[in-house]
């Protein structure tokens, strides 16, 4: 099969500060007068370095990596929005890039008008839009509002309309960036199905996503981008497991979280450590399905904080959220936290997770304020098998993510 995308030794350099560049003509002129022969010194950063890969026609490729790893820059270079500093990129056929849903929507225009505008921005001809208008409207489910200005639309309707236009693009190569992360569950399902149909139609699709489930389901092959380079390239399930395993440095039952640099938030309060304890507060070496245990979260308060909330999310190895627990949901309100160190315990009375590896995401936030600290996938929780049904037969992860204690009762004739 011919190659649809060929990327050879691609590098992209940005000038720091350029992105928010408020360069003034005045300054440039003054600079030029002062030092006519000297170039202005600029700080640079490599967003992509020496990236090489090929994609076959009709292949569906996932691209994963952390925030700022260069995934979006890669898509932007492929879609010709930005140009490589060095190296070559070759994309054959008609390219449609979907880096944002509803690009170019105008508030004052009606849904119908925006379909035409957005469609033509994405590269559709007027005739193509005419032909597909009914399908687009039906897919977006906005028929009754189609002649209403979209400033009256809800954000969900807007999203549906935007995705719907994109889903009806007739391109040989489709570049999609994280558009599946938005919208309600119902709509996401619809999008996934549309993506699935698209990928089955001989189109080449590149999908950037943090939704590991979507990548796993849609893409047989995945590229893992890390710090501007390709770290691994191969079968999706393997790559995802490798990728997820780098999120953590937990050794056995306690881990130092204070040194993690890959964190977001204001830092008013920060996690410093995590421990797994038995219910009598001793280190728990092994957590098994059906156990009770305590997750102890150590924190340090840098600035006195009112009404903080703590949260913990459990993810599967493929990045699917199993559950989130938080002091907010439990109405466990903390009035005030003074400066200093402390810990908070989450008591799990009964862990009904199937034996597998899970990842924890921790956060501290207050309602209506910027988040204080978010640590994504910062700890591993390995659940070991146990005989939860007391049957001697056990359970394992092939049977799902969670198990439910239950009793069987036969009523035979």
């Amino acid at each position: 099969m011919p190659h649809s995308i060929t990327v050879d030794k691609l590098s992209k350099q940005y000038q720091i500060g350029e992105l928010h560049g408020q360069t003034q003509l005045r300054d440039a002129l003054i600079d030029f007068i002062k030092r006519p022969l000297m170039k202005r010194k600029l700080h640079t950063v490599w967003a992509l370095q020496d990236v090489t890969f090929e994609v076959k026609q009709g292949e569906v490729l996932g691209i994963i990596g952390r925030n700022g790893a260069g995934k979006s820059t890669l898509l932007k270079v492929l879609s010709k929005i930005t140009y490589p500093t060095s190296g070559t990129v070759n994309v054959s056929g008609r390219v449609a890039s979907l880096l944002e849903v509803g690009t170019g929507f105008h508030e004052e225009l009606t849904g119908r008008e925006n379909i035409y505008l957005n469609g033509s921005i994405l590269g559709m001809t007027k005739r193509e839009i005419n032909d597909r208008l009914d399908q687009i409207v039906a897919f977006a489910d906005v028929a009754t509002f189609i002649d209403t200005p979209i400033k009256r639309y809800s954000s969900g309707m807007r999203l549906r309309l935007g995705f719907s236009v994109a889903a009806h693009l007739d391109a040989d190569v489709l570049l999609v960036d994280e558009v599946l992360a938005v919208g309600d569950a119902e709509f996401q399902k619809k999008c996934l199905k549309a993506m699935d149909d698209l990928s089955g139609s001989g189109r080449t699709v590149l999908l950037v996503s943090h939704n590991m489930l979507a990548v796993e389901n849609l893409c047989p092959r995945t590229i893992w981008v890390d710090k501007g380079s390709i770290r691994q390239d191969g079968a999706t399930s393997h790559i995802i497991k490798e990728y997820m395993s780098t999120f953590t440095r937990l050794e056995k039952c306690a881990s130092d979280l204070s040194k993690i640099e890959d964190r977001r938030g204001t830092g008013n309060i920060q996690f410093t450590g995590i421990e797994y304890l038995t219910s009598d507060k001793r280190p728990k070496q092994l957590v098994r399905s059906g156990d009770s245990f305590i997750v102890r979260l150590h924190y340090r308060v840098h600035e006195n904080t009112n009404r903080p909330h703590f949260g913990l999310e459990i993810y599967t190895e493929l990045g699917v959220l199993v559950t989130e627990v938080s002091t907010w949901a439990a109405r466990y309100d903390i009035d005030h936290l003074p400066r200093g160190c402390g810990y908070i315990d989450v008591n799990f009375d009964f862990v009904n997770l199937m034996p597998a590896r899970y990842y924890l995401t921790l956060w501290i936030a207050s309602v209506g304020r910027p988040d204080y600290d978010i640590l994504e996938h910062c700890a591993v929780l390995d659940i070991e098998p146990s005989d939860v049904y007391n049957s001697g037969r056990g359970i394992d992860s092939r049977h799902g993510t969670v198990f439910f204690p239950c009793h069987w009762h036969l009523n035979a004739p």
Partner: protein, 261 residues
């Protein structure tokens, strides 16, 4: 700039049409007075000019009624200044598009220049009314107007592309644009006729490509006036050169728009 560049522009001609359509649609949707704005601006400027320059300052107008004298120049000027400021701010105003989708960037300033033509057309109707009022019989030379409009458009597009590209890189260009427009108004024979300028400074007037074009707009309207073909020729050549320079400069810088906007 190779063949592929122009082929791509051609391929995206519909997008170009949709941008013009969007600009026009949005402009008329958001205003209370709608299309009447197109008339209000040049018409009231004409009244003010007539009062201050025509009556009070007794500005000569080569025997043409001053309102007609100024309106026939204000009509192309209003289009030109509007096109310049719209095109100059068009890239920055569409920054979200530049960073999210690929399409020939030139469609943005170009469509911003074109969409003003509708206003021009509406305001032109008023000019016809004025000609009836002043009993001026239009001559065959009025047919020159489409050519003049095209020349004006090319000039506006050329300068507009340069300003738009500069505006992406240097954010103070935004503040320079109104200033440039204001100066240009006084450097162009709109308030005054070229005839009041001493002969030895005439060359300076010809450097401004707008002079020849605007004087030709006026001359082709009024039967008693001669069209200065030499000056119009020079102006047209200048307009074409500026347009070419604008295209080349725009094309040279457009690759970096998405990185720096």
């Amino acid at each position: 700039m190779d063949r592929e560049f122009f082929r791509e522009l051609w391929r995206y001609r519909e997008l170009f049409y949709f941008f013009v359509w969007r600009d026009i649609k949005v402009r008329y949707k958001q205003t209370v007075l709608g299309a009447s704005w197109a008339v209000i601006q040049p018409f009231f400027t004409m009244i003010v000019f007539t009062l201050f320059f025509g009556r009070l300052a007794r500005m000569p107008s080569d025997g043409i009624p001053y309102p007609l004298f100024s309106y026939s120049a204000l009509l192309p000027w209003t289009y030109f200044s509007g096109a310049l400021s719209n095109a100059g701010n068009s890239l920055v105003g569409n920054a979200n598009l530049l960073t999210k989708v690929y399409f020939p960037r030139m469609t943005i300033p170009a469509s911003a220049t074109i969409s003003g033509l509708l206003d021009f057309g509406i305001a032109f109707v008023v000019l016809l009314g004025m000609m009836v009022y002043y009993r001026i019989q239009p001559t065959i030379s009025l047919l020159l107007w489409p050519v003049l409009i095209l020349t004006l458009l090319i000039l506006a597009m050329g300068v507009g592309m340069i300003l738009a590209a500069l505006n992406v890189k240097y954010r103070d260009v935004k503040y320079a644009i109104p200033f440039v427009i204001q100066l240009w108004l006084f450097l162009t024979p709109i308030i005054y006729p070229t005839s009041i300028i001493p002969d030895r400074f005439r060359v300076l007037v010809a450097i401004n490509p707008l002079s020849g074009i605007i004087e030709a707009f006026r001359a082709s309207l009024i039967p008693t006036r001669e069209i200065d073909w030499l000056m119009l020729g020079v102006s047209s050549l200048l307009a074409l050169s500026i347009f070419s320079i604008g295209m080349v400069y725009f094309h040279k810088t457009e690759k970096r728009f998405a990185d720096i906007i």
